[in-house]
Each structure stands twice: as structure tokens, then as C-alpha cells.
């Protein structure tokens, strides 16, 4: 972690090293989701903590409970600022935009291994669902991003049935991944 413990300890809002680690993991998740580029997300995460630390050194937050919100907002602002800066710097031609669009943000070999494991786990989950409608439900929800109510209507499902299938499938998926990696923290690799 670039935000070293000594610095963190000097700021009571961050609490223990463990809570700082958790906060950082949360900020990194957000940034990965926004910028879709692990290295850049890492840089912006460090920058987020630098900005927040500086602000806290100048004076404590009025409401310390809002530290989470402050971190999230700072991370979003930095990501947007970076996006604006990048688009200003580029002389964007149609071809360049297309090339950038195909930039492989998941070229990390460990991520590919992780992705394969996830595909294997979800394949097993789907194979274990004997009911075709249940398999369709999961695909429509998580692959096609369809709305729950429209899925229920189309497949003639009750909400209870829908919830039960999603819950059990998620739990089974969790077990399969835990078995594979032992530590749920490795799910963080999903964030690239």
C-alpha cells in the first residue's frame, strides 16, 4: 500500500491499518470500475488518499462518519479530471478512438487465469440448475442486464422463485470460487 501506515496513523479518521486497507480496497474498486484500467486506477487511488490526507491534516471533517463519502467523491472527481485531461491531450481521430476502444485493460495474465476460473465456476452453476427457466433467468439478469420484473413476467416466475434461484446460484458460485482460491479477497481481481 502506498499510503503508508505511519501517515495513516497520524490521521485518526482512518482508524487502524486494517480499516485503512479496507477503505483503500473500496476506493480501488470504484476507480477500476470508472477508468477500466488497473494501473491508472492504482495511481488515482494513491492520489485520492494523498488529497484526502492533506485535507484531513488541515482540519478534521465536520462529520467523521462522512469519510467514506468524502473518499468516494474525491475518487470520482479525480477520475473525471483525468478523463477530461486525457481527452484534451489527445488529437483524436476516428482511428485513434477505435484503437483506444480496443485497448486491452485485462492483459494481466493473472487476471486471465482468474477469468477462466470464474467462467468455469459459473458454467458449473448453470449446469447444476436442472430447470431451463432458472438458467435463462441468470443469463438474462447478469449477462443481458434485464430488469427483474420483466424477467419474471416473461418467464412466468414468481418473485420468490426468482429470488431463490439468484440467491442459491450466488451462494454456489461463492463456494466454488472460495474452494478455488481459499481467500475471498482474491475476488478483488474482478475489478480490472
Amino acid at each position: 500500500m502506498d499510503t503508508d501506515a505511519t501517515t495513516a496513523a497520524s490521521v485518526p479518521e482512518f482508524g487502524s491499518d486494517e480499516s485503512l486497507r479496507q477503505l483503500r480496497a473500496g476506493v480501488l474498486f470504484l476507480l477500476n470500475r470508472i477508468v477500466r484500467e488497473p494501473a491508472l486506477a492504482e495511481d488515482l487511488c494513491n492520489e485520492t488518499f494523498r488529497v484526502v490526507l492533506e485535507r484531513l491534516r488541515r482540519g478534521p471533517l465536520e462529520d467523521p462518519a462522512k469519510l467514506d463519502s468524502f473518499l468516494a467523491q474525491t475518487a470520482r472527481n479525480l477520475a473525471m479530471a483525468d478523463r477530461r485531461r486525457t481527452s484534451r491531450r489527445q488529437t483524436v481521430t476516428g482511428e485513434q478512438a477505435a484503437i483506444d476502444g480496443f485497448a486491452d485493460e485485462r492483459s494481466d495474465p493473472s487476471f486471465k487465469v482468474e477469468l477462466q476460473a470464474r467462467a468455469k465456476a459459473i458454467r458449473k452453476v448453470l449446469q447444476e440448475l436442472p430447470n431451463l427457466r432458472d438458467r435463462q433467468l441468470l443469463v438474462r439478469l447478469y449477462l443481458n442486464d434485464e430488469d427483474k420484473s420483466s424477467i419474471c413476467r416473461d418467464l412466468n416466475l414468481t418473485e420468490e422463485h426468482f429470488n431463490r434461484v439468484v440467491y442459491r446460484a450466488r451462494e454456489r458460485f461463492r463456494v466454488l470460487l472460495d474452494k478455488r482460491f481459499k481467500r475471498p479477497d482474491l475476488l478483488c481481481l474482478a475489478l480490472a
Binding site: Q22, L23, A25, G26, V27, F29, L30, L67, D68, S69, L71, A72, Q73, A75, R76, L115, Q116, R118, A119, K120, A121, I122, R123, K124, V125, L126, Q127, E128, L129, P130, N131, L132, D134, R135, Q136, L138, V139, L141, Y142, L143, D145, D147, K148, N163, R164, V165, V166, Y167, R168, A169, R170, R172, F173, R174, L177, P184, L187, C188, A190, L191
Partner: protein
């Protein structure tokens, strides 16, 4: 599952599908930063979505959305052959029990059917037949939401009509959620077999039949 947990999951699903408004999204993102348990749930859902996308890239989603029903013809000849094969199978079992009923040792083989590979793939389980008759203890994983009982039909798959070598009208699911079945290997000559597990009692809301493929190697 509690209502609050259900509500949380729906929020996560909508967040990852980019279907929250700005205010809702900010609330979720604040929680992701400050609540590790919540973040783990978001990560799990993200991993599930990633896994599905990867499967789709590999072209494996569409086959998983096909009904698993097996198209087989029930011609009068096939039915007659099935009855004959069943009679031969039962006869073979009785013969074995009378003539070889006092074996020196009991040989048991455990066959675990974990998931089906589909009718066009190879067998799900291959067992190399032993010299002495063996009790085959088969365990079948019938999925996340099994029916309480299954009828079992084992058919020998040949170049001509398929022949039924074993049937059971109703076999219950064990405590481990699996279906267990023991059968004497004398009933199964070397060859390919299809094991059809049909949920009982039949009904529109029942899960689909599960079909496994077994090869007895000579």
C-alpha cells in the same frame, strides 16, 4: 433470505448494470468504500457477471440454454427390446446371486456423476470392468434444486435400438442432495449407457430430466 438482504442484492445488481440514478449510485459507492462486507458482495456479483461474459465469448452460453430433454424414439421394437433386455438383466442378476452368492470378498466401486457433458460429448464416467462382479455404487449430482424423487432408467446405447437394462420407479434424494444407486456390474456389459433421471412426480414445475452417460470398458 431476508428482505433487507434481498433489497441489498437488487441494489447491487442494478448498480453493476448501470441502472441507478446519480444519487443512488453515490450512496452505493460510499457503501462500497466504507462497508467491506457490502464490497465483497459487489465483487462477487461482478465476478459472476465477468464469468458469464467469458463463457459467452467462448460460445458456451447458448448450449447451456438448450433444453436437456433427450429425443429418443419409442418404437414398438424398441419397447419390446427394452423389456427383453430388462428380463435378461434381471435374470443375469438372479443367476449371479445364486451361483456366485458367496464371494470371497465384496468388491465395490464408487462412481460419481458430477455433471453432464451433453449427448454429443464423451461419457461422463468411464469404468473399467473388473474380473469379479462388482457392486457399483453410483452417486449422481442432480443440481442445485433437486426434486424429492427420481425415476431411474439405464439404457444401453447401441448402433440399433437402445435397450433398457435397469429401471427404478422412485429413488429419493439423500441428505447430501445427491441421488445414490447401487447396481451389480453383472447387469452392465461393456458398452455405452445412458442414465436418465426423471423428476417425480412429473409436473410443469419440476426440474428437467438429468441424463448422464456411462461407459463400461471391457
Amino acid at each position: 433470505m431476508t428482505d433487507s438482504r434481498q433489497g441489498t442484492q437488487e441494489t447491487i445488481d442494478r448498480y453493476l448494470a448501470n441502472r441507478l440514478n446519480d444519487a443512488e449510485r453515490e450512496v452505493v459507492e460510499t457503501r462500497i468504500v466504507g462497508d467491506p462486507d457490502f464490497r465483497h458482495e459487489v465483487e462477487l456479483t461482478q465476478a459472476l457477471r465477468d464469468g458469464l461474459r467469458e463463457l459467452q465469448k467462448q460460445g458456451e452460453v447458448a448450449p447451456l440454454l438448450q433444453p436437456r430433454t433427450w429425443m429418443w424414439r419409442r418404437s414398438p421394437f424398441a419397447i419390446a427390446a427394452s423389456v427383453l433386455a430388462l428380463a435378461i438383466g434381471v435374470g443375469a442378476l438372479l443367476y449371479f446371486e445364486r451361483t456366485g452368492g458367496k464371494p470371497d470378498e465384496l468388491v465395490v466401486a464408487s462412481l460419481h456423476f458430477e455433471h453432464t457433458r451433453g449427448s454429443d460429448s464423451g461419457p461422463d464416467v468411464i469404468w473399467r470392468g473388473a474380473q469379479s462382479p462388482t457392486l457399483l455404487e453410483m452417486r449422481f449430482d442432480v443440481g442445485l434444486e433437486p426434486a424429492p424423487n427420481y425415476s431411474v432408467r439405464i439404457e444401453r446405447v447401441g448402433s440399433g435400438a437402445d435397450t433398457t437394462v435397469f429401471t427404478a420407479a422412485s429413488v429419493g434424494i439423500g441428505m447430501d442432495g445427491q441421488l445414490a444407486l447401487s447396481i451389480n456390474s453383472a447387469a452392465l456389459e461393456p458398452g455405452d449407457y445412458r442414465i436418465r433421471l426423471e423428476p417425480q412426480p412429473p409436473g410443469p414445475d419440476r426440474p428437467e430430466p438429468v441424463i448422464y452417460a456411462l461407459r463400461i470398458a471391457g
